[in-house]
Each structure stands twice: as structure tokens, then as C-alpha cells.
């Protein structure tokens, strides 16, 4: 640990007035040595990215470091002028961000954007810059780099864009690479590739990496050392292996435990003879509407999808983005209309229902949505949001509001919550409200579309617990859509794996998870970060 590249000493960063707390980061000290990967772990709001932004000089307006120092190779970065700071950025410290979709300028070609790094530091001739850009693109493993260099960002996939970002960050061989949640927005298989790439590059260039993440799986995958943060303070700091295996702090333990493990819930006895939902040969093609002189384009979202689920059963639909899993869920609740095939709920074909009948039958299938911030009308009181369904279905207003209170009790928020507005609740609480709303109509089937994906792991665990609990109490039938096999394994009786609109594997949770048949399922499983560690500790 003699070769310290970066050293944070008692760093305190103040938030602007009116924020929910005074300091983003308070009295934080840690070192990053050359050649190591330091993982800074925390949930949203922990202040884990703030130190990185401070050392890059990229703090948002109104946020500033008020105490402590950030020493990089002997220099206190906080005391640098903007010009000095600028000369450091890109040259000695590179950075990649979470959202590859928005982190690249949509109007510039990839090559030009990489070239800019050299331009900013007056390196190379314009043609030399392009040649280097091509080399870099090759190094980060972009297919057809000659084409990619002339491409615009929108022409690349998310993983490819993240590779471009990495190429850009590495262009001048910086000593420190800051990676701010670089894989969070990616599919699990892509995530695995990017993690591999970063690890690989780090080893080859021998640079230090400060890797910011919320996912202990990722930590297990790549970290040399780890720093766990909570509400702006460090709760635990140490060698990665040590922390993972023997977490000292309660919070760290909670985080590690919150990662769904391989422990399978006991398979329940389900009466398979009376199927609640029967899906037969479902087809759905999305067409971009062509004009008079415009060709239309087609995407096969659902391709001959058939399965059945029994009453009281929980079925998981797992797949990466573009697999058609969400379309399937939306077809089941009839937010989309399938092109052909049948959806029999208790023998009634949902696909054939017309508007007015459909409106009346809707209560039988309800949905829990992904984004707790978008799924509640910001201008409707929580109680009303829950009662709206029953009211629309003819229940007396007073009665409906009273029942809404009961439901809020049931999901653990208390009846008093009914009078408040959604913005007064946290993400996890809102998801509880969403669940209460779905329950208000006593549906026969609930579709949960990525219901926990947007939540921090600890919250995720609580919501999964709630769902489990409700399943028992109310003997719910649940269609659980997720991209995360681990989550599915935890809560589902059966799992359906989808790829490109088709079902590639269908079986009991245990079977799919422990002895996958399809190659794609295996690929998915292997891509889960920290799997090796989980398996080891299991």
C-alpha cells in the first residue's frame, strides 16, 4: 500500500440550502493505490459518487467541498484552478458514467468524440487522432471498429456505447479511472462483458480504478478493496474479500444478505389441474407506422408464446431487454392487444373483449409497475389513488376510501397515509402503495412488471418480503416479470426464460436455476456478477 495515488482526507462536501441533509459527504477518508480497484459501494443517496465528482471538479452547481483535501499524486485537487483541473481531466484521470445512452453527444460521430480527448490536451494531428481512435475502439472490443468510428451514438447498442466511453476515458492512458456505476443500465450479459473489459484493461495498463456501484455482486467480481458508504459517511473500509466474507458492520451485512441467494424457497403445492391463465400461441409484432412513401418496420415482440399458470402460483418471466417479457405482461393485462393467439383467464378469452366489456373485466387482472415515481399521479392523494379503482367499478366512494385505508395498513404504511400525496413517500413506500392499489380490486391475477428493479437492494428485499407475505395471506396468483434471475428464483414457483420474443426455457424455479437446459439460460446465469462468490459461500 505504499504506492498511494489518491488520498481523500476528511473530505466534507456541503449540499445547497434546502436539500434534505446538510452534507453529501462528511469526513470521508480513504486511499486508492496504483494498480488497485477500489469499489465505493452504497445505495442511492449515500454520497458515493460525490467524492469522485469533487476530485474531477465536476460537482453540481451549489455543491462544494467545505473541508478536507483530495490529494492526487501529491497535489491537493481542491485547491487547483479550473485551468489546472482541466488539464488533469482526461489526461491523468479518466471517467465513465452510468448512462451510456446520454453520456455521448448525439450529434457527433464516435471518432470525433474520441478525437476530442487528444484535441483537448493538444496531442497528435487530426489524422493521428483518428488513427488512435480506431486503435482504441479495437482495444475495447467494438465489432467493426472501422464502421463504428464513423457511427453516431444512436447507431450503437448500450454496451457498445459504454465501450466507446471506456475508449475515450483510456485515450491518454490515465493513471486513475473513475467508473461511476458503469454497468447499472446494462443487461446482465453485457454487464459481465464490460466488467471483464474493465478488469482486463486495468491489469494491462496498471492503472488505479475507482469503481462506484450499489451492487455487492459487482464488488465480489472485481474489487481489490471496498469502501461501504451510507448517508455520506463510511461505514466500512477494507480488503474486498475480507469485507465480503466477514462484514463487520451491520449495514454491510444487511446489504450482502439482501442479495438474493441461491437458497430456493420450498416448492409449494399448487393445484395444477385448474389453470387460472392459459396463454396460447400469442403473437405480437410492433410496426412503425409507414407513411405513403415510407417503409414500415417490424419487431417481433412475441413469437408463438404459450404457457399456463395455476391459481395461487407465482410464475416468473425472465429475460433481457428486448426479450418481449414486458410485452407479454402488458398483453396479459391488455394494455397491449396481441395480434393473434388466446389469453384465457378462467376460460374467458381476454383478447376478444371490446372496449366497454374490457373496462368492466379489467379488475380481474391488475398490475404493479416498475417505476415507483411514475406509477402514482402526483396530484392525487394516496387514499384516492387506491380507491379510484373500486369507485370506477361502482363501489361507494366512502366505502372505497375506507377500504383503501385498510389496504394501506395491510402493506405496512398505516391508514393515515391515505391523506398524503405521493411525493411525501420514498420509493419503497410508493411501491407499497402501488401494491395496495393493485390489490384494491381483488384481482385474480397480478402482473408485477420489474416491480423491484428500480429499488435499492435493501428496499428490494423488503418489498419481496411483503409480496411473499401477501402471497401467503391472500393466496395471490402472481406473474412476476424481471430481468434478474436471482430475484425470480427467490419468489417464483415456475420460471419462464424469454429471448427475442420466444420462450427458451420453462420449468420449476429450482430446475431452471440449478440445472438450466437452454444455453441462453446458462449464459444468463453465468453473467450474474458475484456468482462465483455466492456459490462459494452458499
Amino acid at each position: 500500500m505504499s504506492d498511494i495515488l489518491l488520498s481523500l482526507r476528511h473530505l466534507t462536501i456541503a449540499l445547497p440550502e434546502g436539500a434534505d441533509r446538510d452534507f453529501a459527504v462528511e469526513d470521508v477518508s480513504y486511499d486508492v493505490a496504483r494498480g488497485e480497484i477500489m469499489c465505493v459501494v452504497g445505495e442511492s443517496g449515500s454520497g458515493k459518487s460525490m467524492a469522485a465528482n469533487a476530485l474531477m471538479g465536476l460537482l453540481p452547481k451549489g455543491v462544494r467541498a467545505t473541508a478536507g483535501e483530495v490529494v492526487f499524486d501529491g497535489q491537493d485537487l481542491l485547491s487547483l484552478t479550473e485551468k489546472q483541473h482541466r488539464e488533469l481531466r482526461g489526461l491523468r484521470i479518466g471517467m465513465i458514467f452510468q448512462e451510456p445512452m446520454t453520456a455521448l453527444n448525439p450529434l457527433m460521430r464516435v471518432g470525433a468524440q474520441i478525437g476530442e480527448v487528444f484535441e483537448a490536451h493538444n496531442r497528435l494531428t487530426p489524422s493521428g487522432r483518428q488513427a488512435r481512435a480506431l486503435e482504441l475502439l479495437t482495444e475495447v472490443g467494438i465489432p467493426q471498429p472501422e464502421k463504428a468510428i464513423r457511427a453516431y451514438p444512436f447507431e450503437l447498442s448500450g454496451g457498445q456505447r459504454q465501450r466507446v466511453m471506456i475508449a475515450m476515458a483510456l485515450a491518454l492512458k490515465p493513471e486513475l479511472l473513475i467508473a461511476d456505476e458503469p454497468t447499472t443500465a446494462l443487461d446482465v450479459t453485457t454487464q459481465a462483458q464490460i466488467l471483464d473489459l474493465i478488469g482486463d484493461l486495468q491489469r494491462r495498463h496498471g492503472m488505479a480504478v475507482m469503481f462506484i456501484t450499489h451492487d455487492f455482486g459487482v464488488v465480489a467480481e472485481i474489487a481489490t478493496r471496498v469502501c461501504v458508504m451510507r448517508e455520506g459517511r463510511i461505514v466500512e473500509l477494507g480488503e474486498a474479500r475480507e469485507v465480503l466474507e466477514n462484514p463487520q458492520h451491520e449495514y454491510t451485512r444487511a446489504l450482502i444478505e439482501a442479495i438474493p441467494s441461491n437458497a430456493m424457497p420450498a416448492a409449494r403445492q399448487v393445484d395444477q389441474t385448474a389453470p387460472l391463465l392459459e396463454v396460447r400461441h400469442l403473437q405480437k409484432v410492433f410496426r412503425s407506422r409507414g407513411g405513403l412513401f415510407k417503409p414500415s418496420r417490424e419487431v417481433h415482440a412475441l413469437n408463438d408464446v404459450s404457457f399456463t399458470m395455476a391459481r395461487g402460483e407465482t410464475v416468473g418471466i425472465v429475460g433481457e431487454s428486448g426479450s418481449g417479457k414486458s410485452t407479454l405482461g402488458r398483453c396479459v393485462v391488455r394494455l397491449e392487444r396481441p395480434d393473434s393467439g388466446e389469453l384465457l383467464l378462467d376460460g374467458i378469452d381476454l383478447t376478444s373483449l371490446k372496449s366497454e366489456t374490457l373496462r368492466r373485466e379489467r379488475r380481474r387482472v391488475q398490475m404493479i409497475f416498475q417505476d415507483p415515481y411514475a406509477s402514482l399521479n402526483p396530484r392525487t392523494r394516496v387514499g384516492m389513488a387506491i380507491a379510484q379503482g373500486p369507485i370506477a367499478n361502482g363501489v361507494d366512494r366512502q366505502q372505497a376510501l375506507k377500504e383503501a385505508g385498510d389496504l394501506l395498513d395491510l402493506v405496512g404504511l398505516g391508514a393515515a397515509a391515505a391523506e398524503r400525496f405521493p411525493h411525501e413517500f420514498s420509493g419503497g413506500q410508493r411501491q407499497r402503495i402501488g401494491i395496495a392499489r393493485a390489490l384494491a380490486l381483488n384481482p385474480e391475477l397480478i402482473v408485477a412488471d420489474e416491480a423491484v428493479s428500480a429499488l435499492d437492494v435493501s428496499i428490494q428485499a423488503q418489498i419481496l418480503e411483503l409480496l411473499e407475505d401477501l402471497k401467503q395471506k391472500l393466496s395471490l396468483s402472481l406473474l412476476f416479470i424481471t430481468h434478474d434471475l436471482r430475484v425470480a428464483a427467490q419468489i417464483c414457483d415456475h420460471i419462464i426464460v424469454m429471448q427475442h420474443g420466444r420462450i427458451v426455457e420453462h420449468g420449476s424455479a429450482e430446475a431452471v436455476f440449478l440445472s438450466p437446459q437452454a444455453a441462453y439460460t446458462r449464459e444468463l446465469l453465468e453473467a450474474i456478477p458475484g456468482r462465483a462468490h455466492v456459490l462459494a459461500t452458499a
Binding site: R363, Q366, M367, F369, A385, A392, N393, L441
Partner: protein
Amino acid sequence: MNFFARFAQNRGALVGLIILLAIILMAILAPLLFPESPWRMVQRPFLPPLETEGFPLGTDTMGRNVAAGLMHGAWVSLLIGLVSTTVALAIGVPLGAIAGYYGGLVDDALMRFTEFFQTIPNFALAIVLVAIMQPSITSIVLAIAIVSWPPVARLVRAEFMSLRHREYVEAARLVGQTNATIILRQILPNTLSPIIVLASLMVATAILLESALSFLGLGDPNVMSWGYMIGAARTVIRQAWWLSFFPGVAILLTVLALNLVGEGLDDALNPKLARERS
């Protein structure tokens, strides 16, 4: 932070609000301070401002009190601005809402209709409409409304299009709410803030439009509006600068105030942007 605190953070908006309130006060006090008709010829024509007691802003070409005209005009200008904006909203909001909510062919048809109105230059259409209906308060208000609704429709449509796939809207559909309820209860309330901001700017534009129409001689001859005052004074702008100056300033201030208030509303209703801007 509450709404007003956020609004008041934008100092310009506060100034705008104060000016606007002053103008509204002028409009309210006009009949009390100047109970006589502003059309009454009460003094020698062309009295310059501040020279004769009781005529702080002088008299016009026919010896009418400019101060009285200005105060009575405040009422008319504000009224024209408000009513025409209301009418424009009454046309634009439902059209935009229906187009944005239903999409598809309905949207296509309504948007073609909207585009059609946007293809005829605004001001030209307003002139033709007033000329056809012959100038009166009603025709002017209608003409202004008819040329100013398309942006409303477009805005509301865009908002509806982005909101109709929001999860809470889909949730409302799932629980069986009717389309009408969803449009009115779920989506519309969430589009109000941009509509309010736009409306405040439309009032300003309407006042400008009315003055331009009056300038071309297409004002209502029975009401004293600022536009009329400038239009009537333009021929004597060389002899009596104050005749077009004061109403010109009044329009400027009102439009300015409305814009400032609009910005303030925008800030207050979209707190995220406000922090960047102020």
C-alpha cells in the same frame, strides 16, 4: 418550499407581479378616479403632460384626457387578453387532449387541422377575420383566439402524448376508469403548469395583437384600448409624442410583466429548472 416562495425567488417575476397588480389596480380604479367617459372632450387638444392640473398625461388630438384613457384602457386591454386566451384555451386544450390521448387517426386528423391553421400566417388571418366580422370587441377576441389556439393544442397534445403512457395513467386504465375520467382527472391536472405558463404569455401576445389590429384601424370604436390610443396617435406622433408614448409604455410594461410572471410561474411549477435559471 411552497409555491409562492419559489415564485418569489425569481426577482424578475416578483417585479412583474407587482407591475401586473398595479395595472389591474388601474383597471379597477379607472371608473372611480375618472368617472366620466374617457371619450369626453374636456380640454384644449394637444395639452402636453404635466402642464395642466388634472391632466397629468396631457390631452389628445381632440382634447380628451389621456390619463383617463390609459386607465380605462387597462381594463379593455386586460379583458381582451384574458378573454381571448380563455377562448383559445377552450379550443386548444380539448383538441390537443383528444389528439394526444387517442393518437392514431384521430391525432392525424386533428393535427392536420391544426397545421392547416398554422399554415395561414397568423396576423394575416387575424386581419381577415376581423375585417370579415367587422371590428368589434367580440370579433377581435374571436380572431385573436382563432389564431392563437394551435400552439396550445400542440403543447397539450405533446404533454398528453408523454403522459398517456405514464404508469399511473395505465394503472387508471387497468382499474377500469373511463377515458373521459382519465383525461380529466389523471392527465389534465398534470399538464396544467405548462398550460398556465403558456397562457400567461398568450395574454401578453393577445394584447400585442389587439394593439396591432387597432393600429391598422381594426379596433372596436366604442372602447378605449391602448392599441386604439396608439393607432389614433400615430398620425400625430411628431407633434404629440406623449399620445403614443404612454399607451406604448403601458403595453410594454404589461407584456413585460406578464412575461416575467410567466417565467416565475415556470420556475415555481418546475422547481428543477428554476435552480439553474435564477
